[in-house]
């Protein structure tokens, strides 16, 4: 009999066991919160109890070594409790105010910065990239690291922003980082039609499924030196990668032509204005590892243009709504091209059907 008795369908452990005492006691009875300093907030309960939260950035990709270190810190200052946020930051939950500063000191010494609370830049939601994914048109962690090194003061709070600002990164059109609704989105793009391995194809995938997988109908059956296979009509391909996902014999990654595009003005919350999709700002920037300077520059330029021009509480989308897209492109110094005009299913719905224009 094996060392461990495997069980199935037990589901995740019940969260209740992981809640610190102060939360158990004041669960659902929080009165208000305040940001006491960059990266630190306090939640005050109806009971009067206080809970301090210190938000600490992580690269999301974490070694167990670091996690264990976080545990040591949590044991020391947080009664052994810790949580992560929906943007991959760690939140240390501190019942005793006296522990806030010592904890911050220790965390920062270990190399993890404090910040991202309130009207600041938080962590970049991102994806696998070359570290683990087969679809990636660029690396994820490397771009994120390079961008955040440059925008660091906007996370720590040294520099101000008009409102919460969310940057997201995804390494291909699948958008695992859900970049489709971010203030600034960095998206890896393939820009050339996939290449087909005609020897493998018959073995590894079903041709009808493959043909059906293409939204633009760019794939058609073909016999290549005797073998049943398919061909891709280059002009009809917009590099979505769907065929690649369904068939291993299709290869979309291309060291020469893969790169990055930049999107802006998305948001998720329903605060003030409805949620919005990100819109294309910069169609293409070639990959330039290890630090993608052009991408970093482009993102910084957009963020700082926004920071200088937007009004208090205006998210990127609200700011652009107010000044208009022509002005936005002028301010960031980006030419408006044919790539910016939608040509997909509902393109016509994006045409400007009023004479209301700034002249």
């Amino acid at each position: 009999m094996p060392e461990f008795e495997r069980r199935t369908d037990i589901g995740p452990p019940n969260y209740k066991q992981f809640l610190p005492e102060v939360i158990k006691k004041n669960y659902g009875k929080w009165d208000y919160h305040e940001i006491v300093k960059p990266g630190v907030m306090v939640h005050v309960a109806e009971s009067g109890d206080k809970l301090f939260t210190v938000r600490c950035a992580t690269p999301r990709l974490l070694a167990i070594t670091s996690i264990r270190k976080f545990c040591d810190i949590a044991d020391k200052y947080c009664d052994g409790h810790i949580r992560w946020t929906s943007r991959n930051n760690v939140e240390f939950l501190i019942p005793d105010e006296a522990n806030v500063e010592p904890l911050i000191k220790e965390v920062e010494e270990y190399g993890f910065p404090i910040g991202g609370l309130g009207a600041k830049l938080s962590n970049i939601v991102h994806t696998q990239g070359w570290v683990h994914c087969h679809s990636s048109a660029s690396d994820a962690s490397g771009v994120v690291k390079s961008v955040m090194d440059e925008l660091f003061p906007y996370f720590t709070g040294e520099k101000d922003l008009p409102a919460k600002t969310r940057i997201a990164y995804a390494c291909c059109l699948n958008m695992c980082g859900a970049v489709h609704c971010s203030d600034i989105a960095i998206l890896g793009v393939h820009t050339r039609a996939p290449v087909i391995d005609h020897d493998d194809l018959p073995k590894v995938c079903e041709i009808p499924n493959l043909i059906a997988s293409c939204p633009t109908g760019a794939i058609r059956p073909a016999t290549v030196d005797g073998k049943q296979s398919v061909e891709i009509i280059e002009d009809q391909c917009m590099y979505c990668g769907n065929c690649y996902t369904v068939c291993p014999a299709v290869h979309i990654n291309n060291a020469q032509t893969d790169g990055i595009s930049i999107w802006v003005g998305g948001k998720v919350s329903n605060s003030r204005i409805a949620p919005k999709f990100s819109k294309l700002a910069i169609p293409f920037i070639p990959n330039n590892p290890p630090r993608w300077p052009e991408v970093v520059e482009a993102v910084k330029n957009i963020l700082e243009t926004y920071a200088e021009n937007a009004r208090k509480h205006e998210r990127m989308a609200e700011w652009i709504d107010r000044i208009g897209w022509p002005k936005f492109f002028e301010l960031i110094g980006q030419e408006f091209t044919k790539y910016h005009i939608d040509d997909f299913t509902h393109a016509g719905e994006t045409y400007n059907r009023t004479s209301q224009l700034r002249h």
Binding site: Y15, W30, L61, R68, S86, K145, P275, P289
Partner: protein, 401 residues
Amino acid sequence: MTVKKHETPLLDELEKGPWPSFVKEIKKEGEHNAMSNDVLGILERSYEEHISHWKHGGIVGVMSYGGGVIGRYSDLPEEFPNVDMFHTVRVNQPSAWFYDTKSLRHLCDVWEKHGSGVTNMHGSTGDIVFLGCKTEALEPLFAELSAEHDDLPSFDLGGSGSNMRTPSCCVGPARCEWACYDTLDACYNITQEFQDELHRPFFPYKYKFKFAGCPNDCVASIARSDCSVMGVWKDDIQVDNAKVAEYDANGTDVQTEVCDLCPTRCMEWDGKTLDIDNANCVKCMHCINLMPKALKPGKERGATILIGGKAPIIGGALLCSVFVPFLEMNPEDDYEDLKELTEAIWDLWGEHGKNRERTGEFIQRVGLSNFLEEIGLDPVPEMVMHPRTNPYIFFDDEIFE
């Protein structure tokens, strides 16, 4: 054990700078873990060549589960033998990502034993992601995670493939004054209820749940899930005028920052009382966000259910759209209504949805009206931004009655 290090001049560049470095993280394990060491090597190669060295993942997983593991093989098995296989294991996180250090250390120990020692805390869907594991290690790893332990919690796998995906939720009532329902409990309850759907792919495509306690939507549910459960209230915003005045006195210009930014302009501030026309309040949270001490959501609380959010593949990205404007969410009745709605949707989509067609796309293809009729939900104007503008109406005989 000691491992032969790779030269990684390019990656080393990414150890510099103030932001925590993922390269440092990998190296922390690479020191003693052959897999993490080789992953550095193969990654350096990608940095040199501008391309991924991972191939399509075949079907790998644990017995009797159809998901939870993403198979991954490298195209350079000879040069980097320790990552010829480098599967990820998705471990279902606890609600709102709360841990105690004991359990967290336990997870680290288990992962150290069976894999690369490198993780994602967390994956975009919410799972604890164990990054890099060999096929033969999957069963032992799963057994050790799922087995009963005396004073340690057991863990199960999350979702992948065409099944329900790992639900996630915001911190909600655990640490937020605005939670309109218990996001942690709802997330846990739904996850437990649908274990079979989570582990065995019977759907046309993936289906995601996300639970947000209020319209701020801190888990991006409206954009990143098929079913967004968004907390909201029905009655009047709770106002403490004295505190509003305090904010006004201490740097918040209530008129310009609060009233003027209200989407429906339904607030009036005369310096003493904040008069809210609650009938026209669309519960956007802005005023509450700005003055947490002074304003609170109303007392009649529940959630709006929105359906069909997703990324672009393949018909273009979609945000969820309103299905149930207001649903009670009390733990007592075990979220019956939400479960019924969910099963009705799954039945219809499961039967008629095309392969790789998400609910959002399916609804658009068959038409919202038809979809509602099939799942037995009455149309309400809240479901649309505005009624149809085109005259192409399919009339039933009922109009002549």
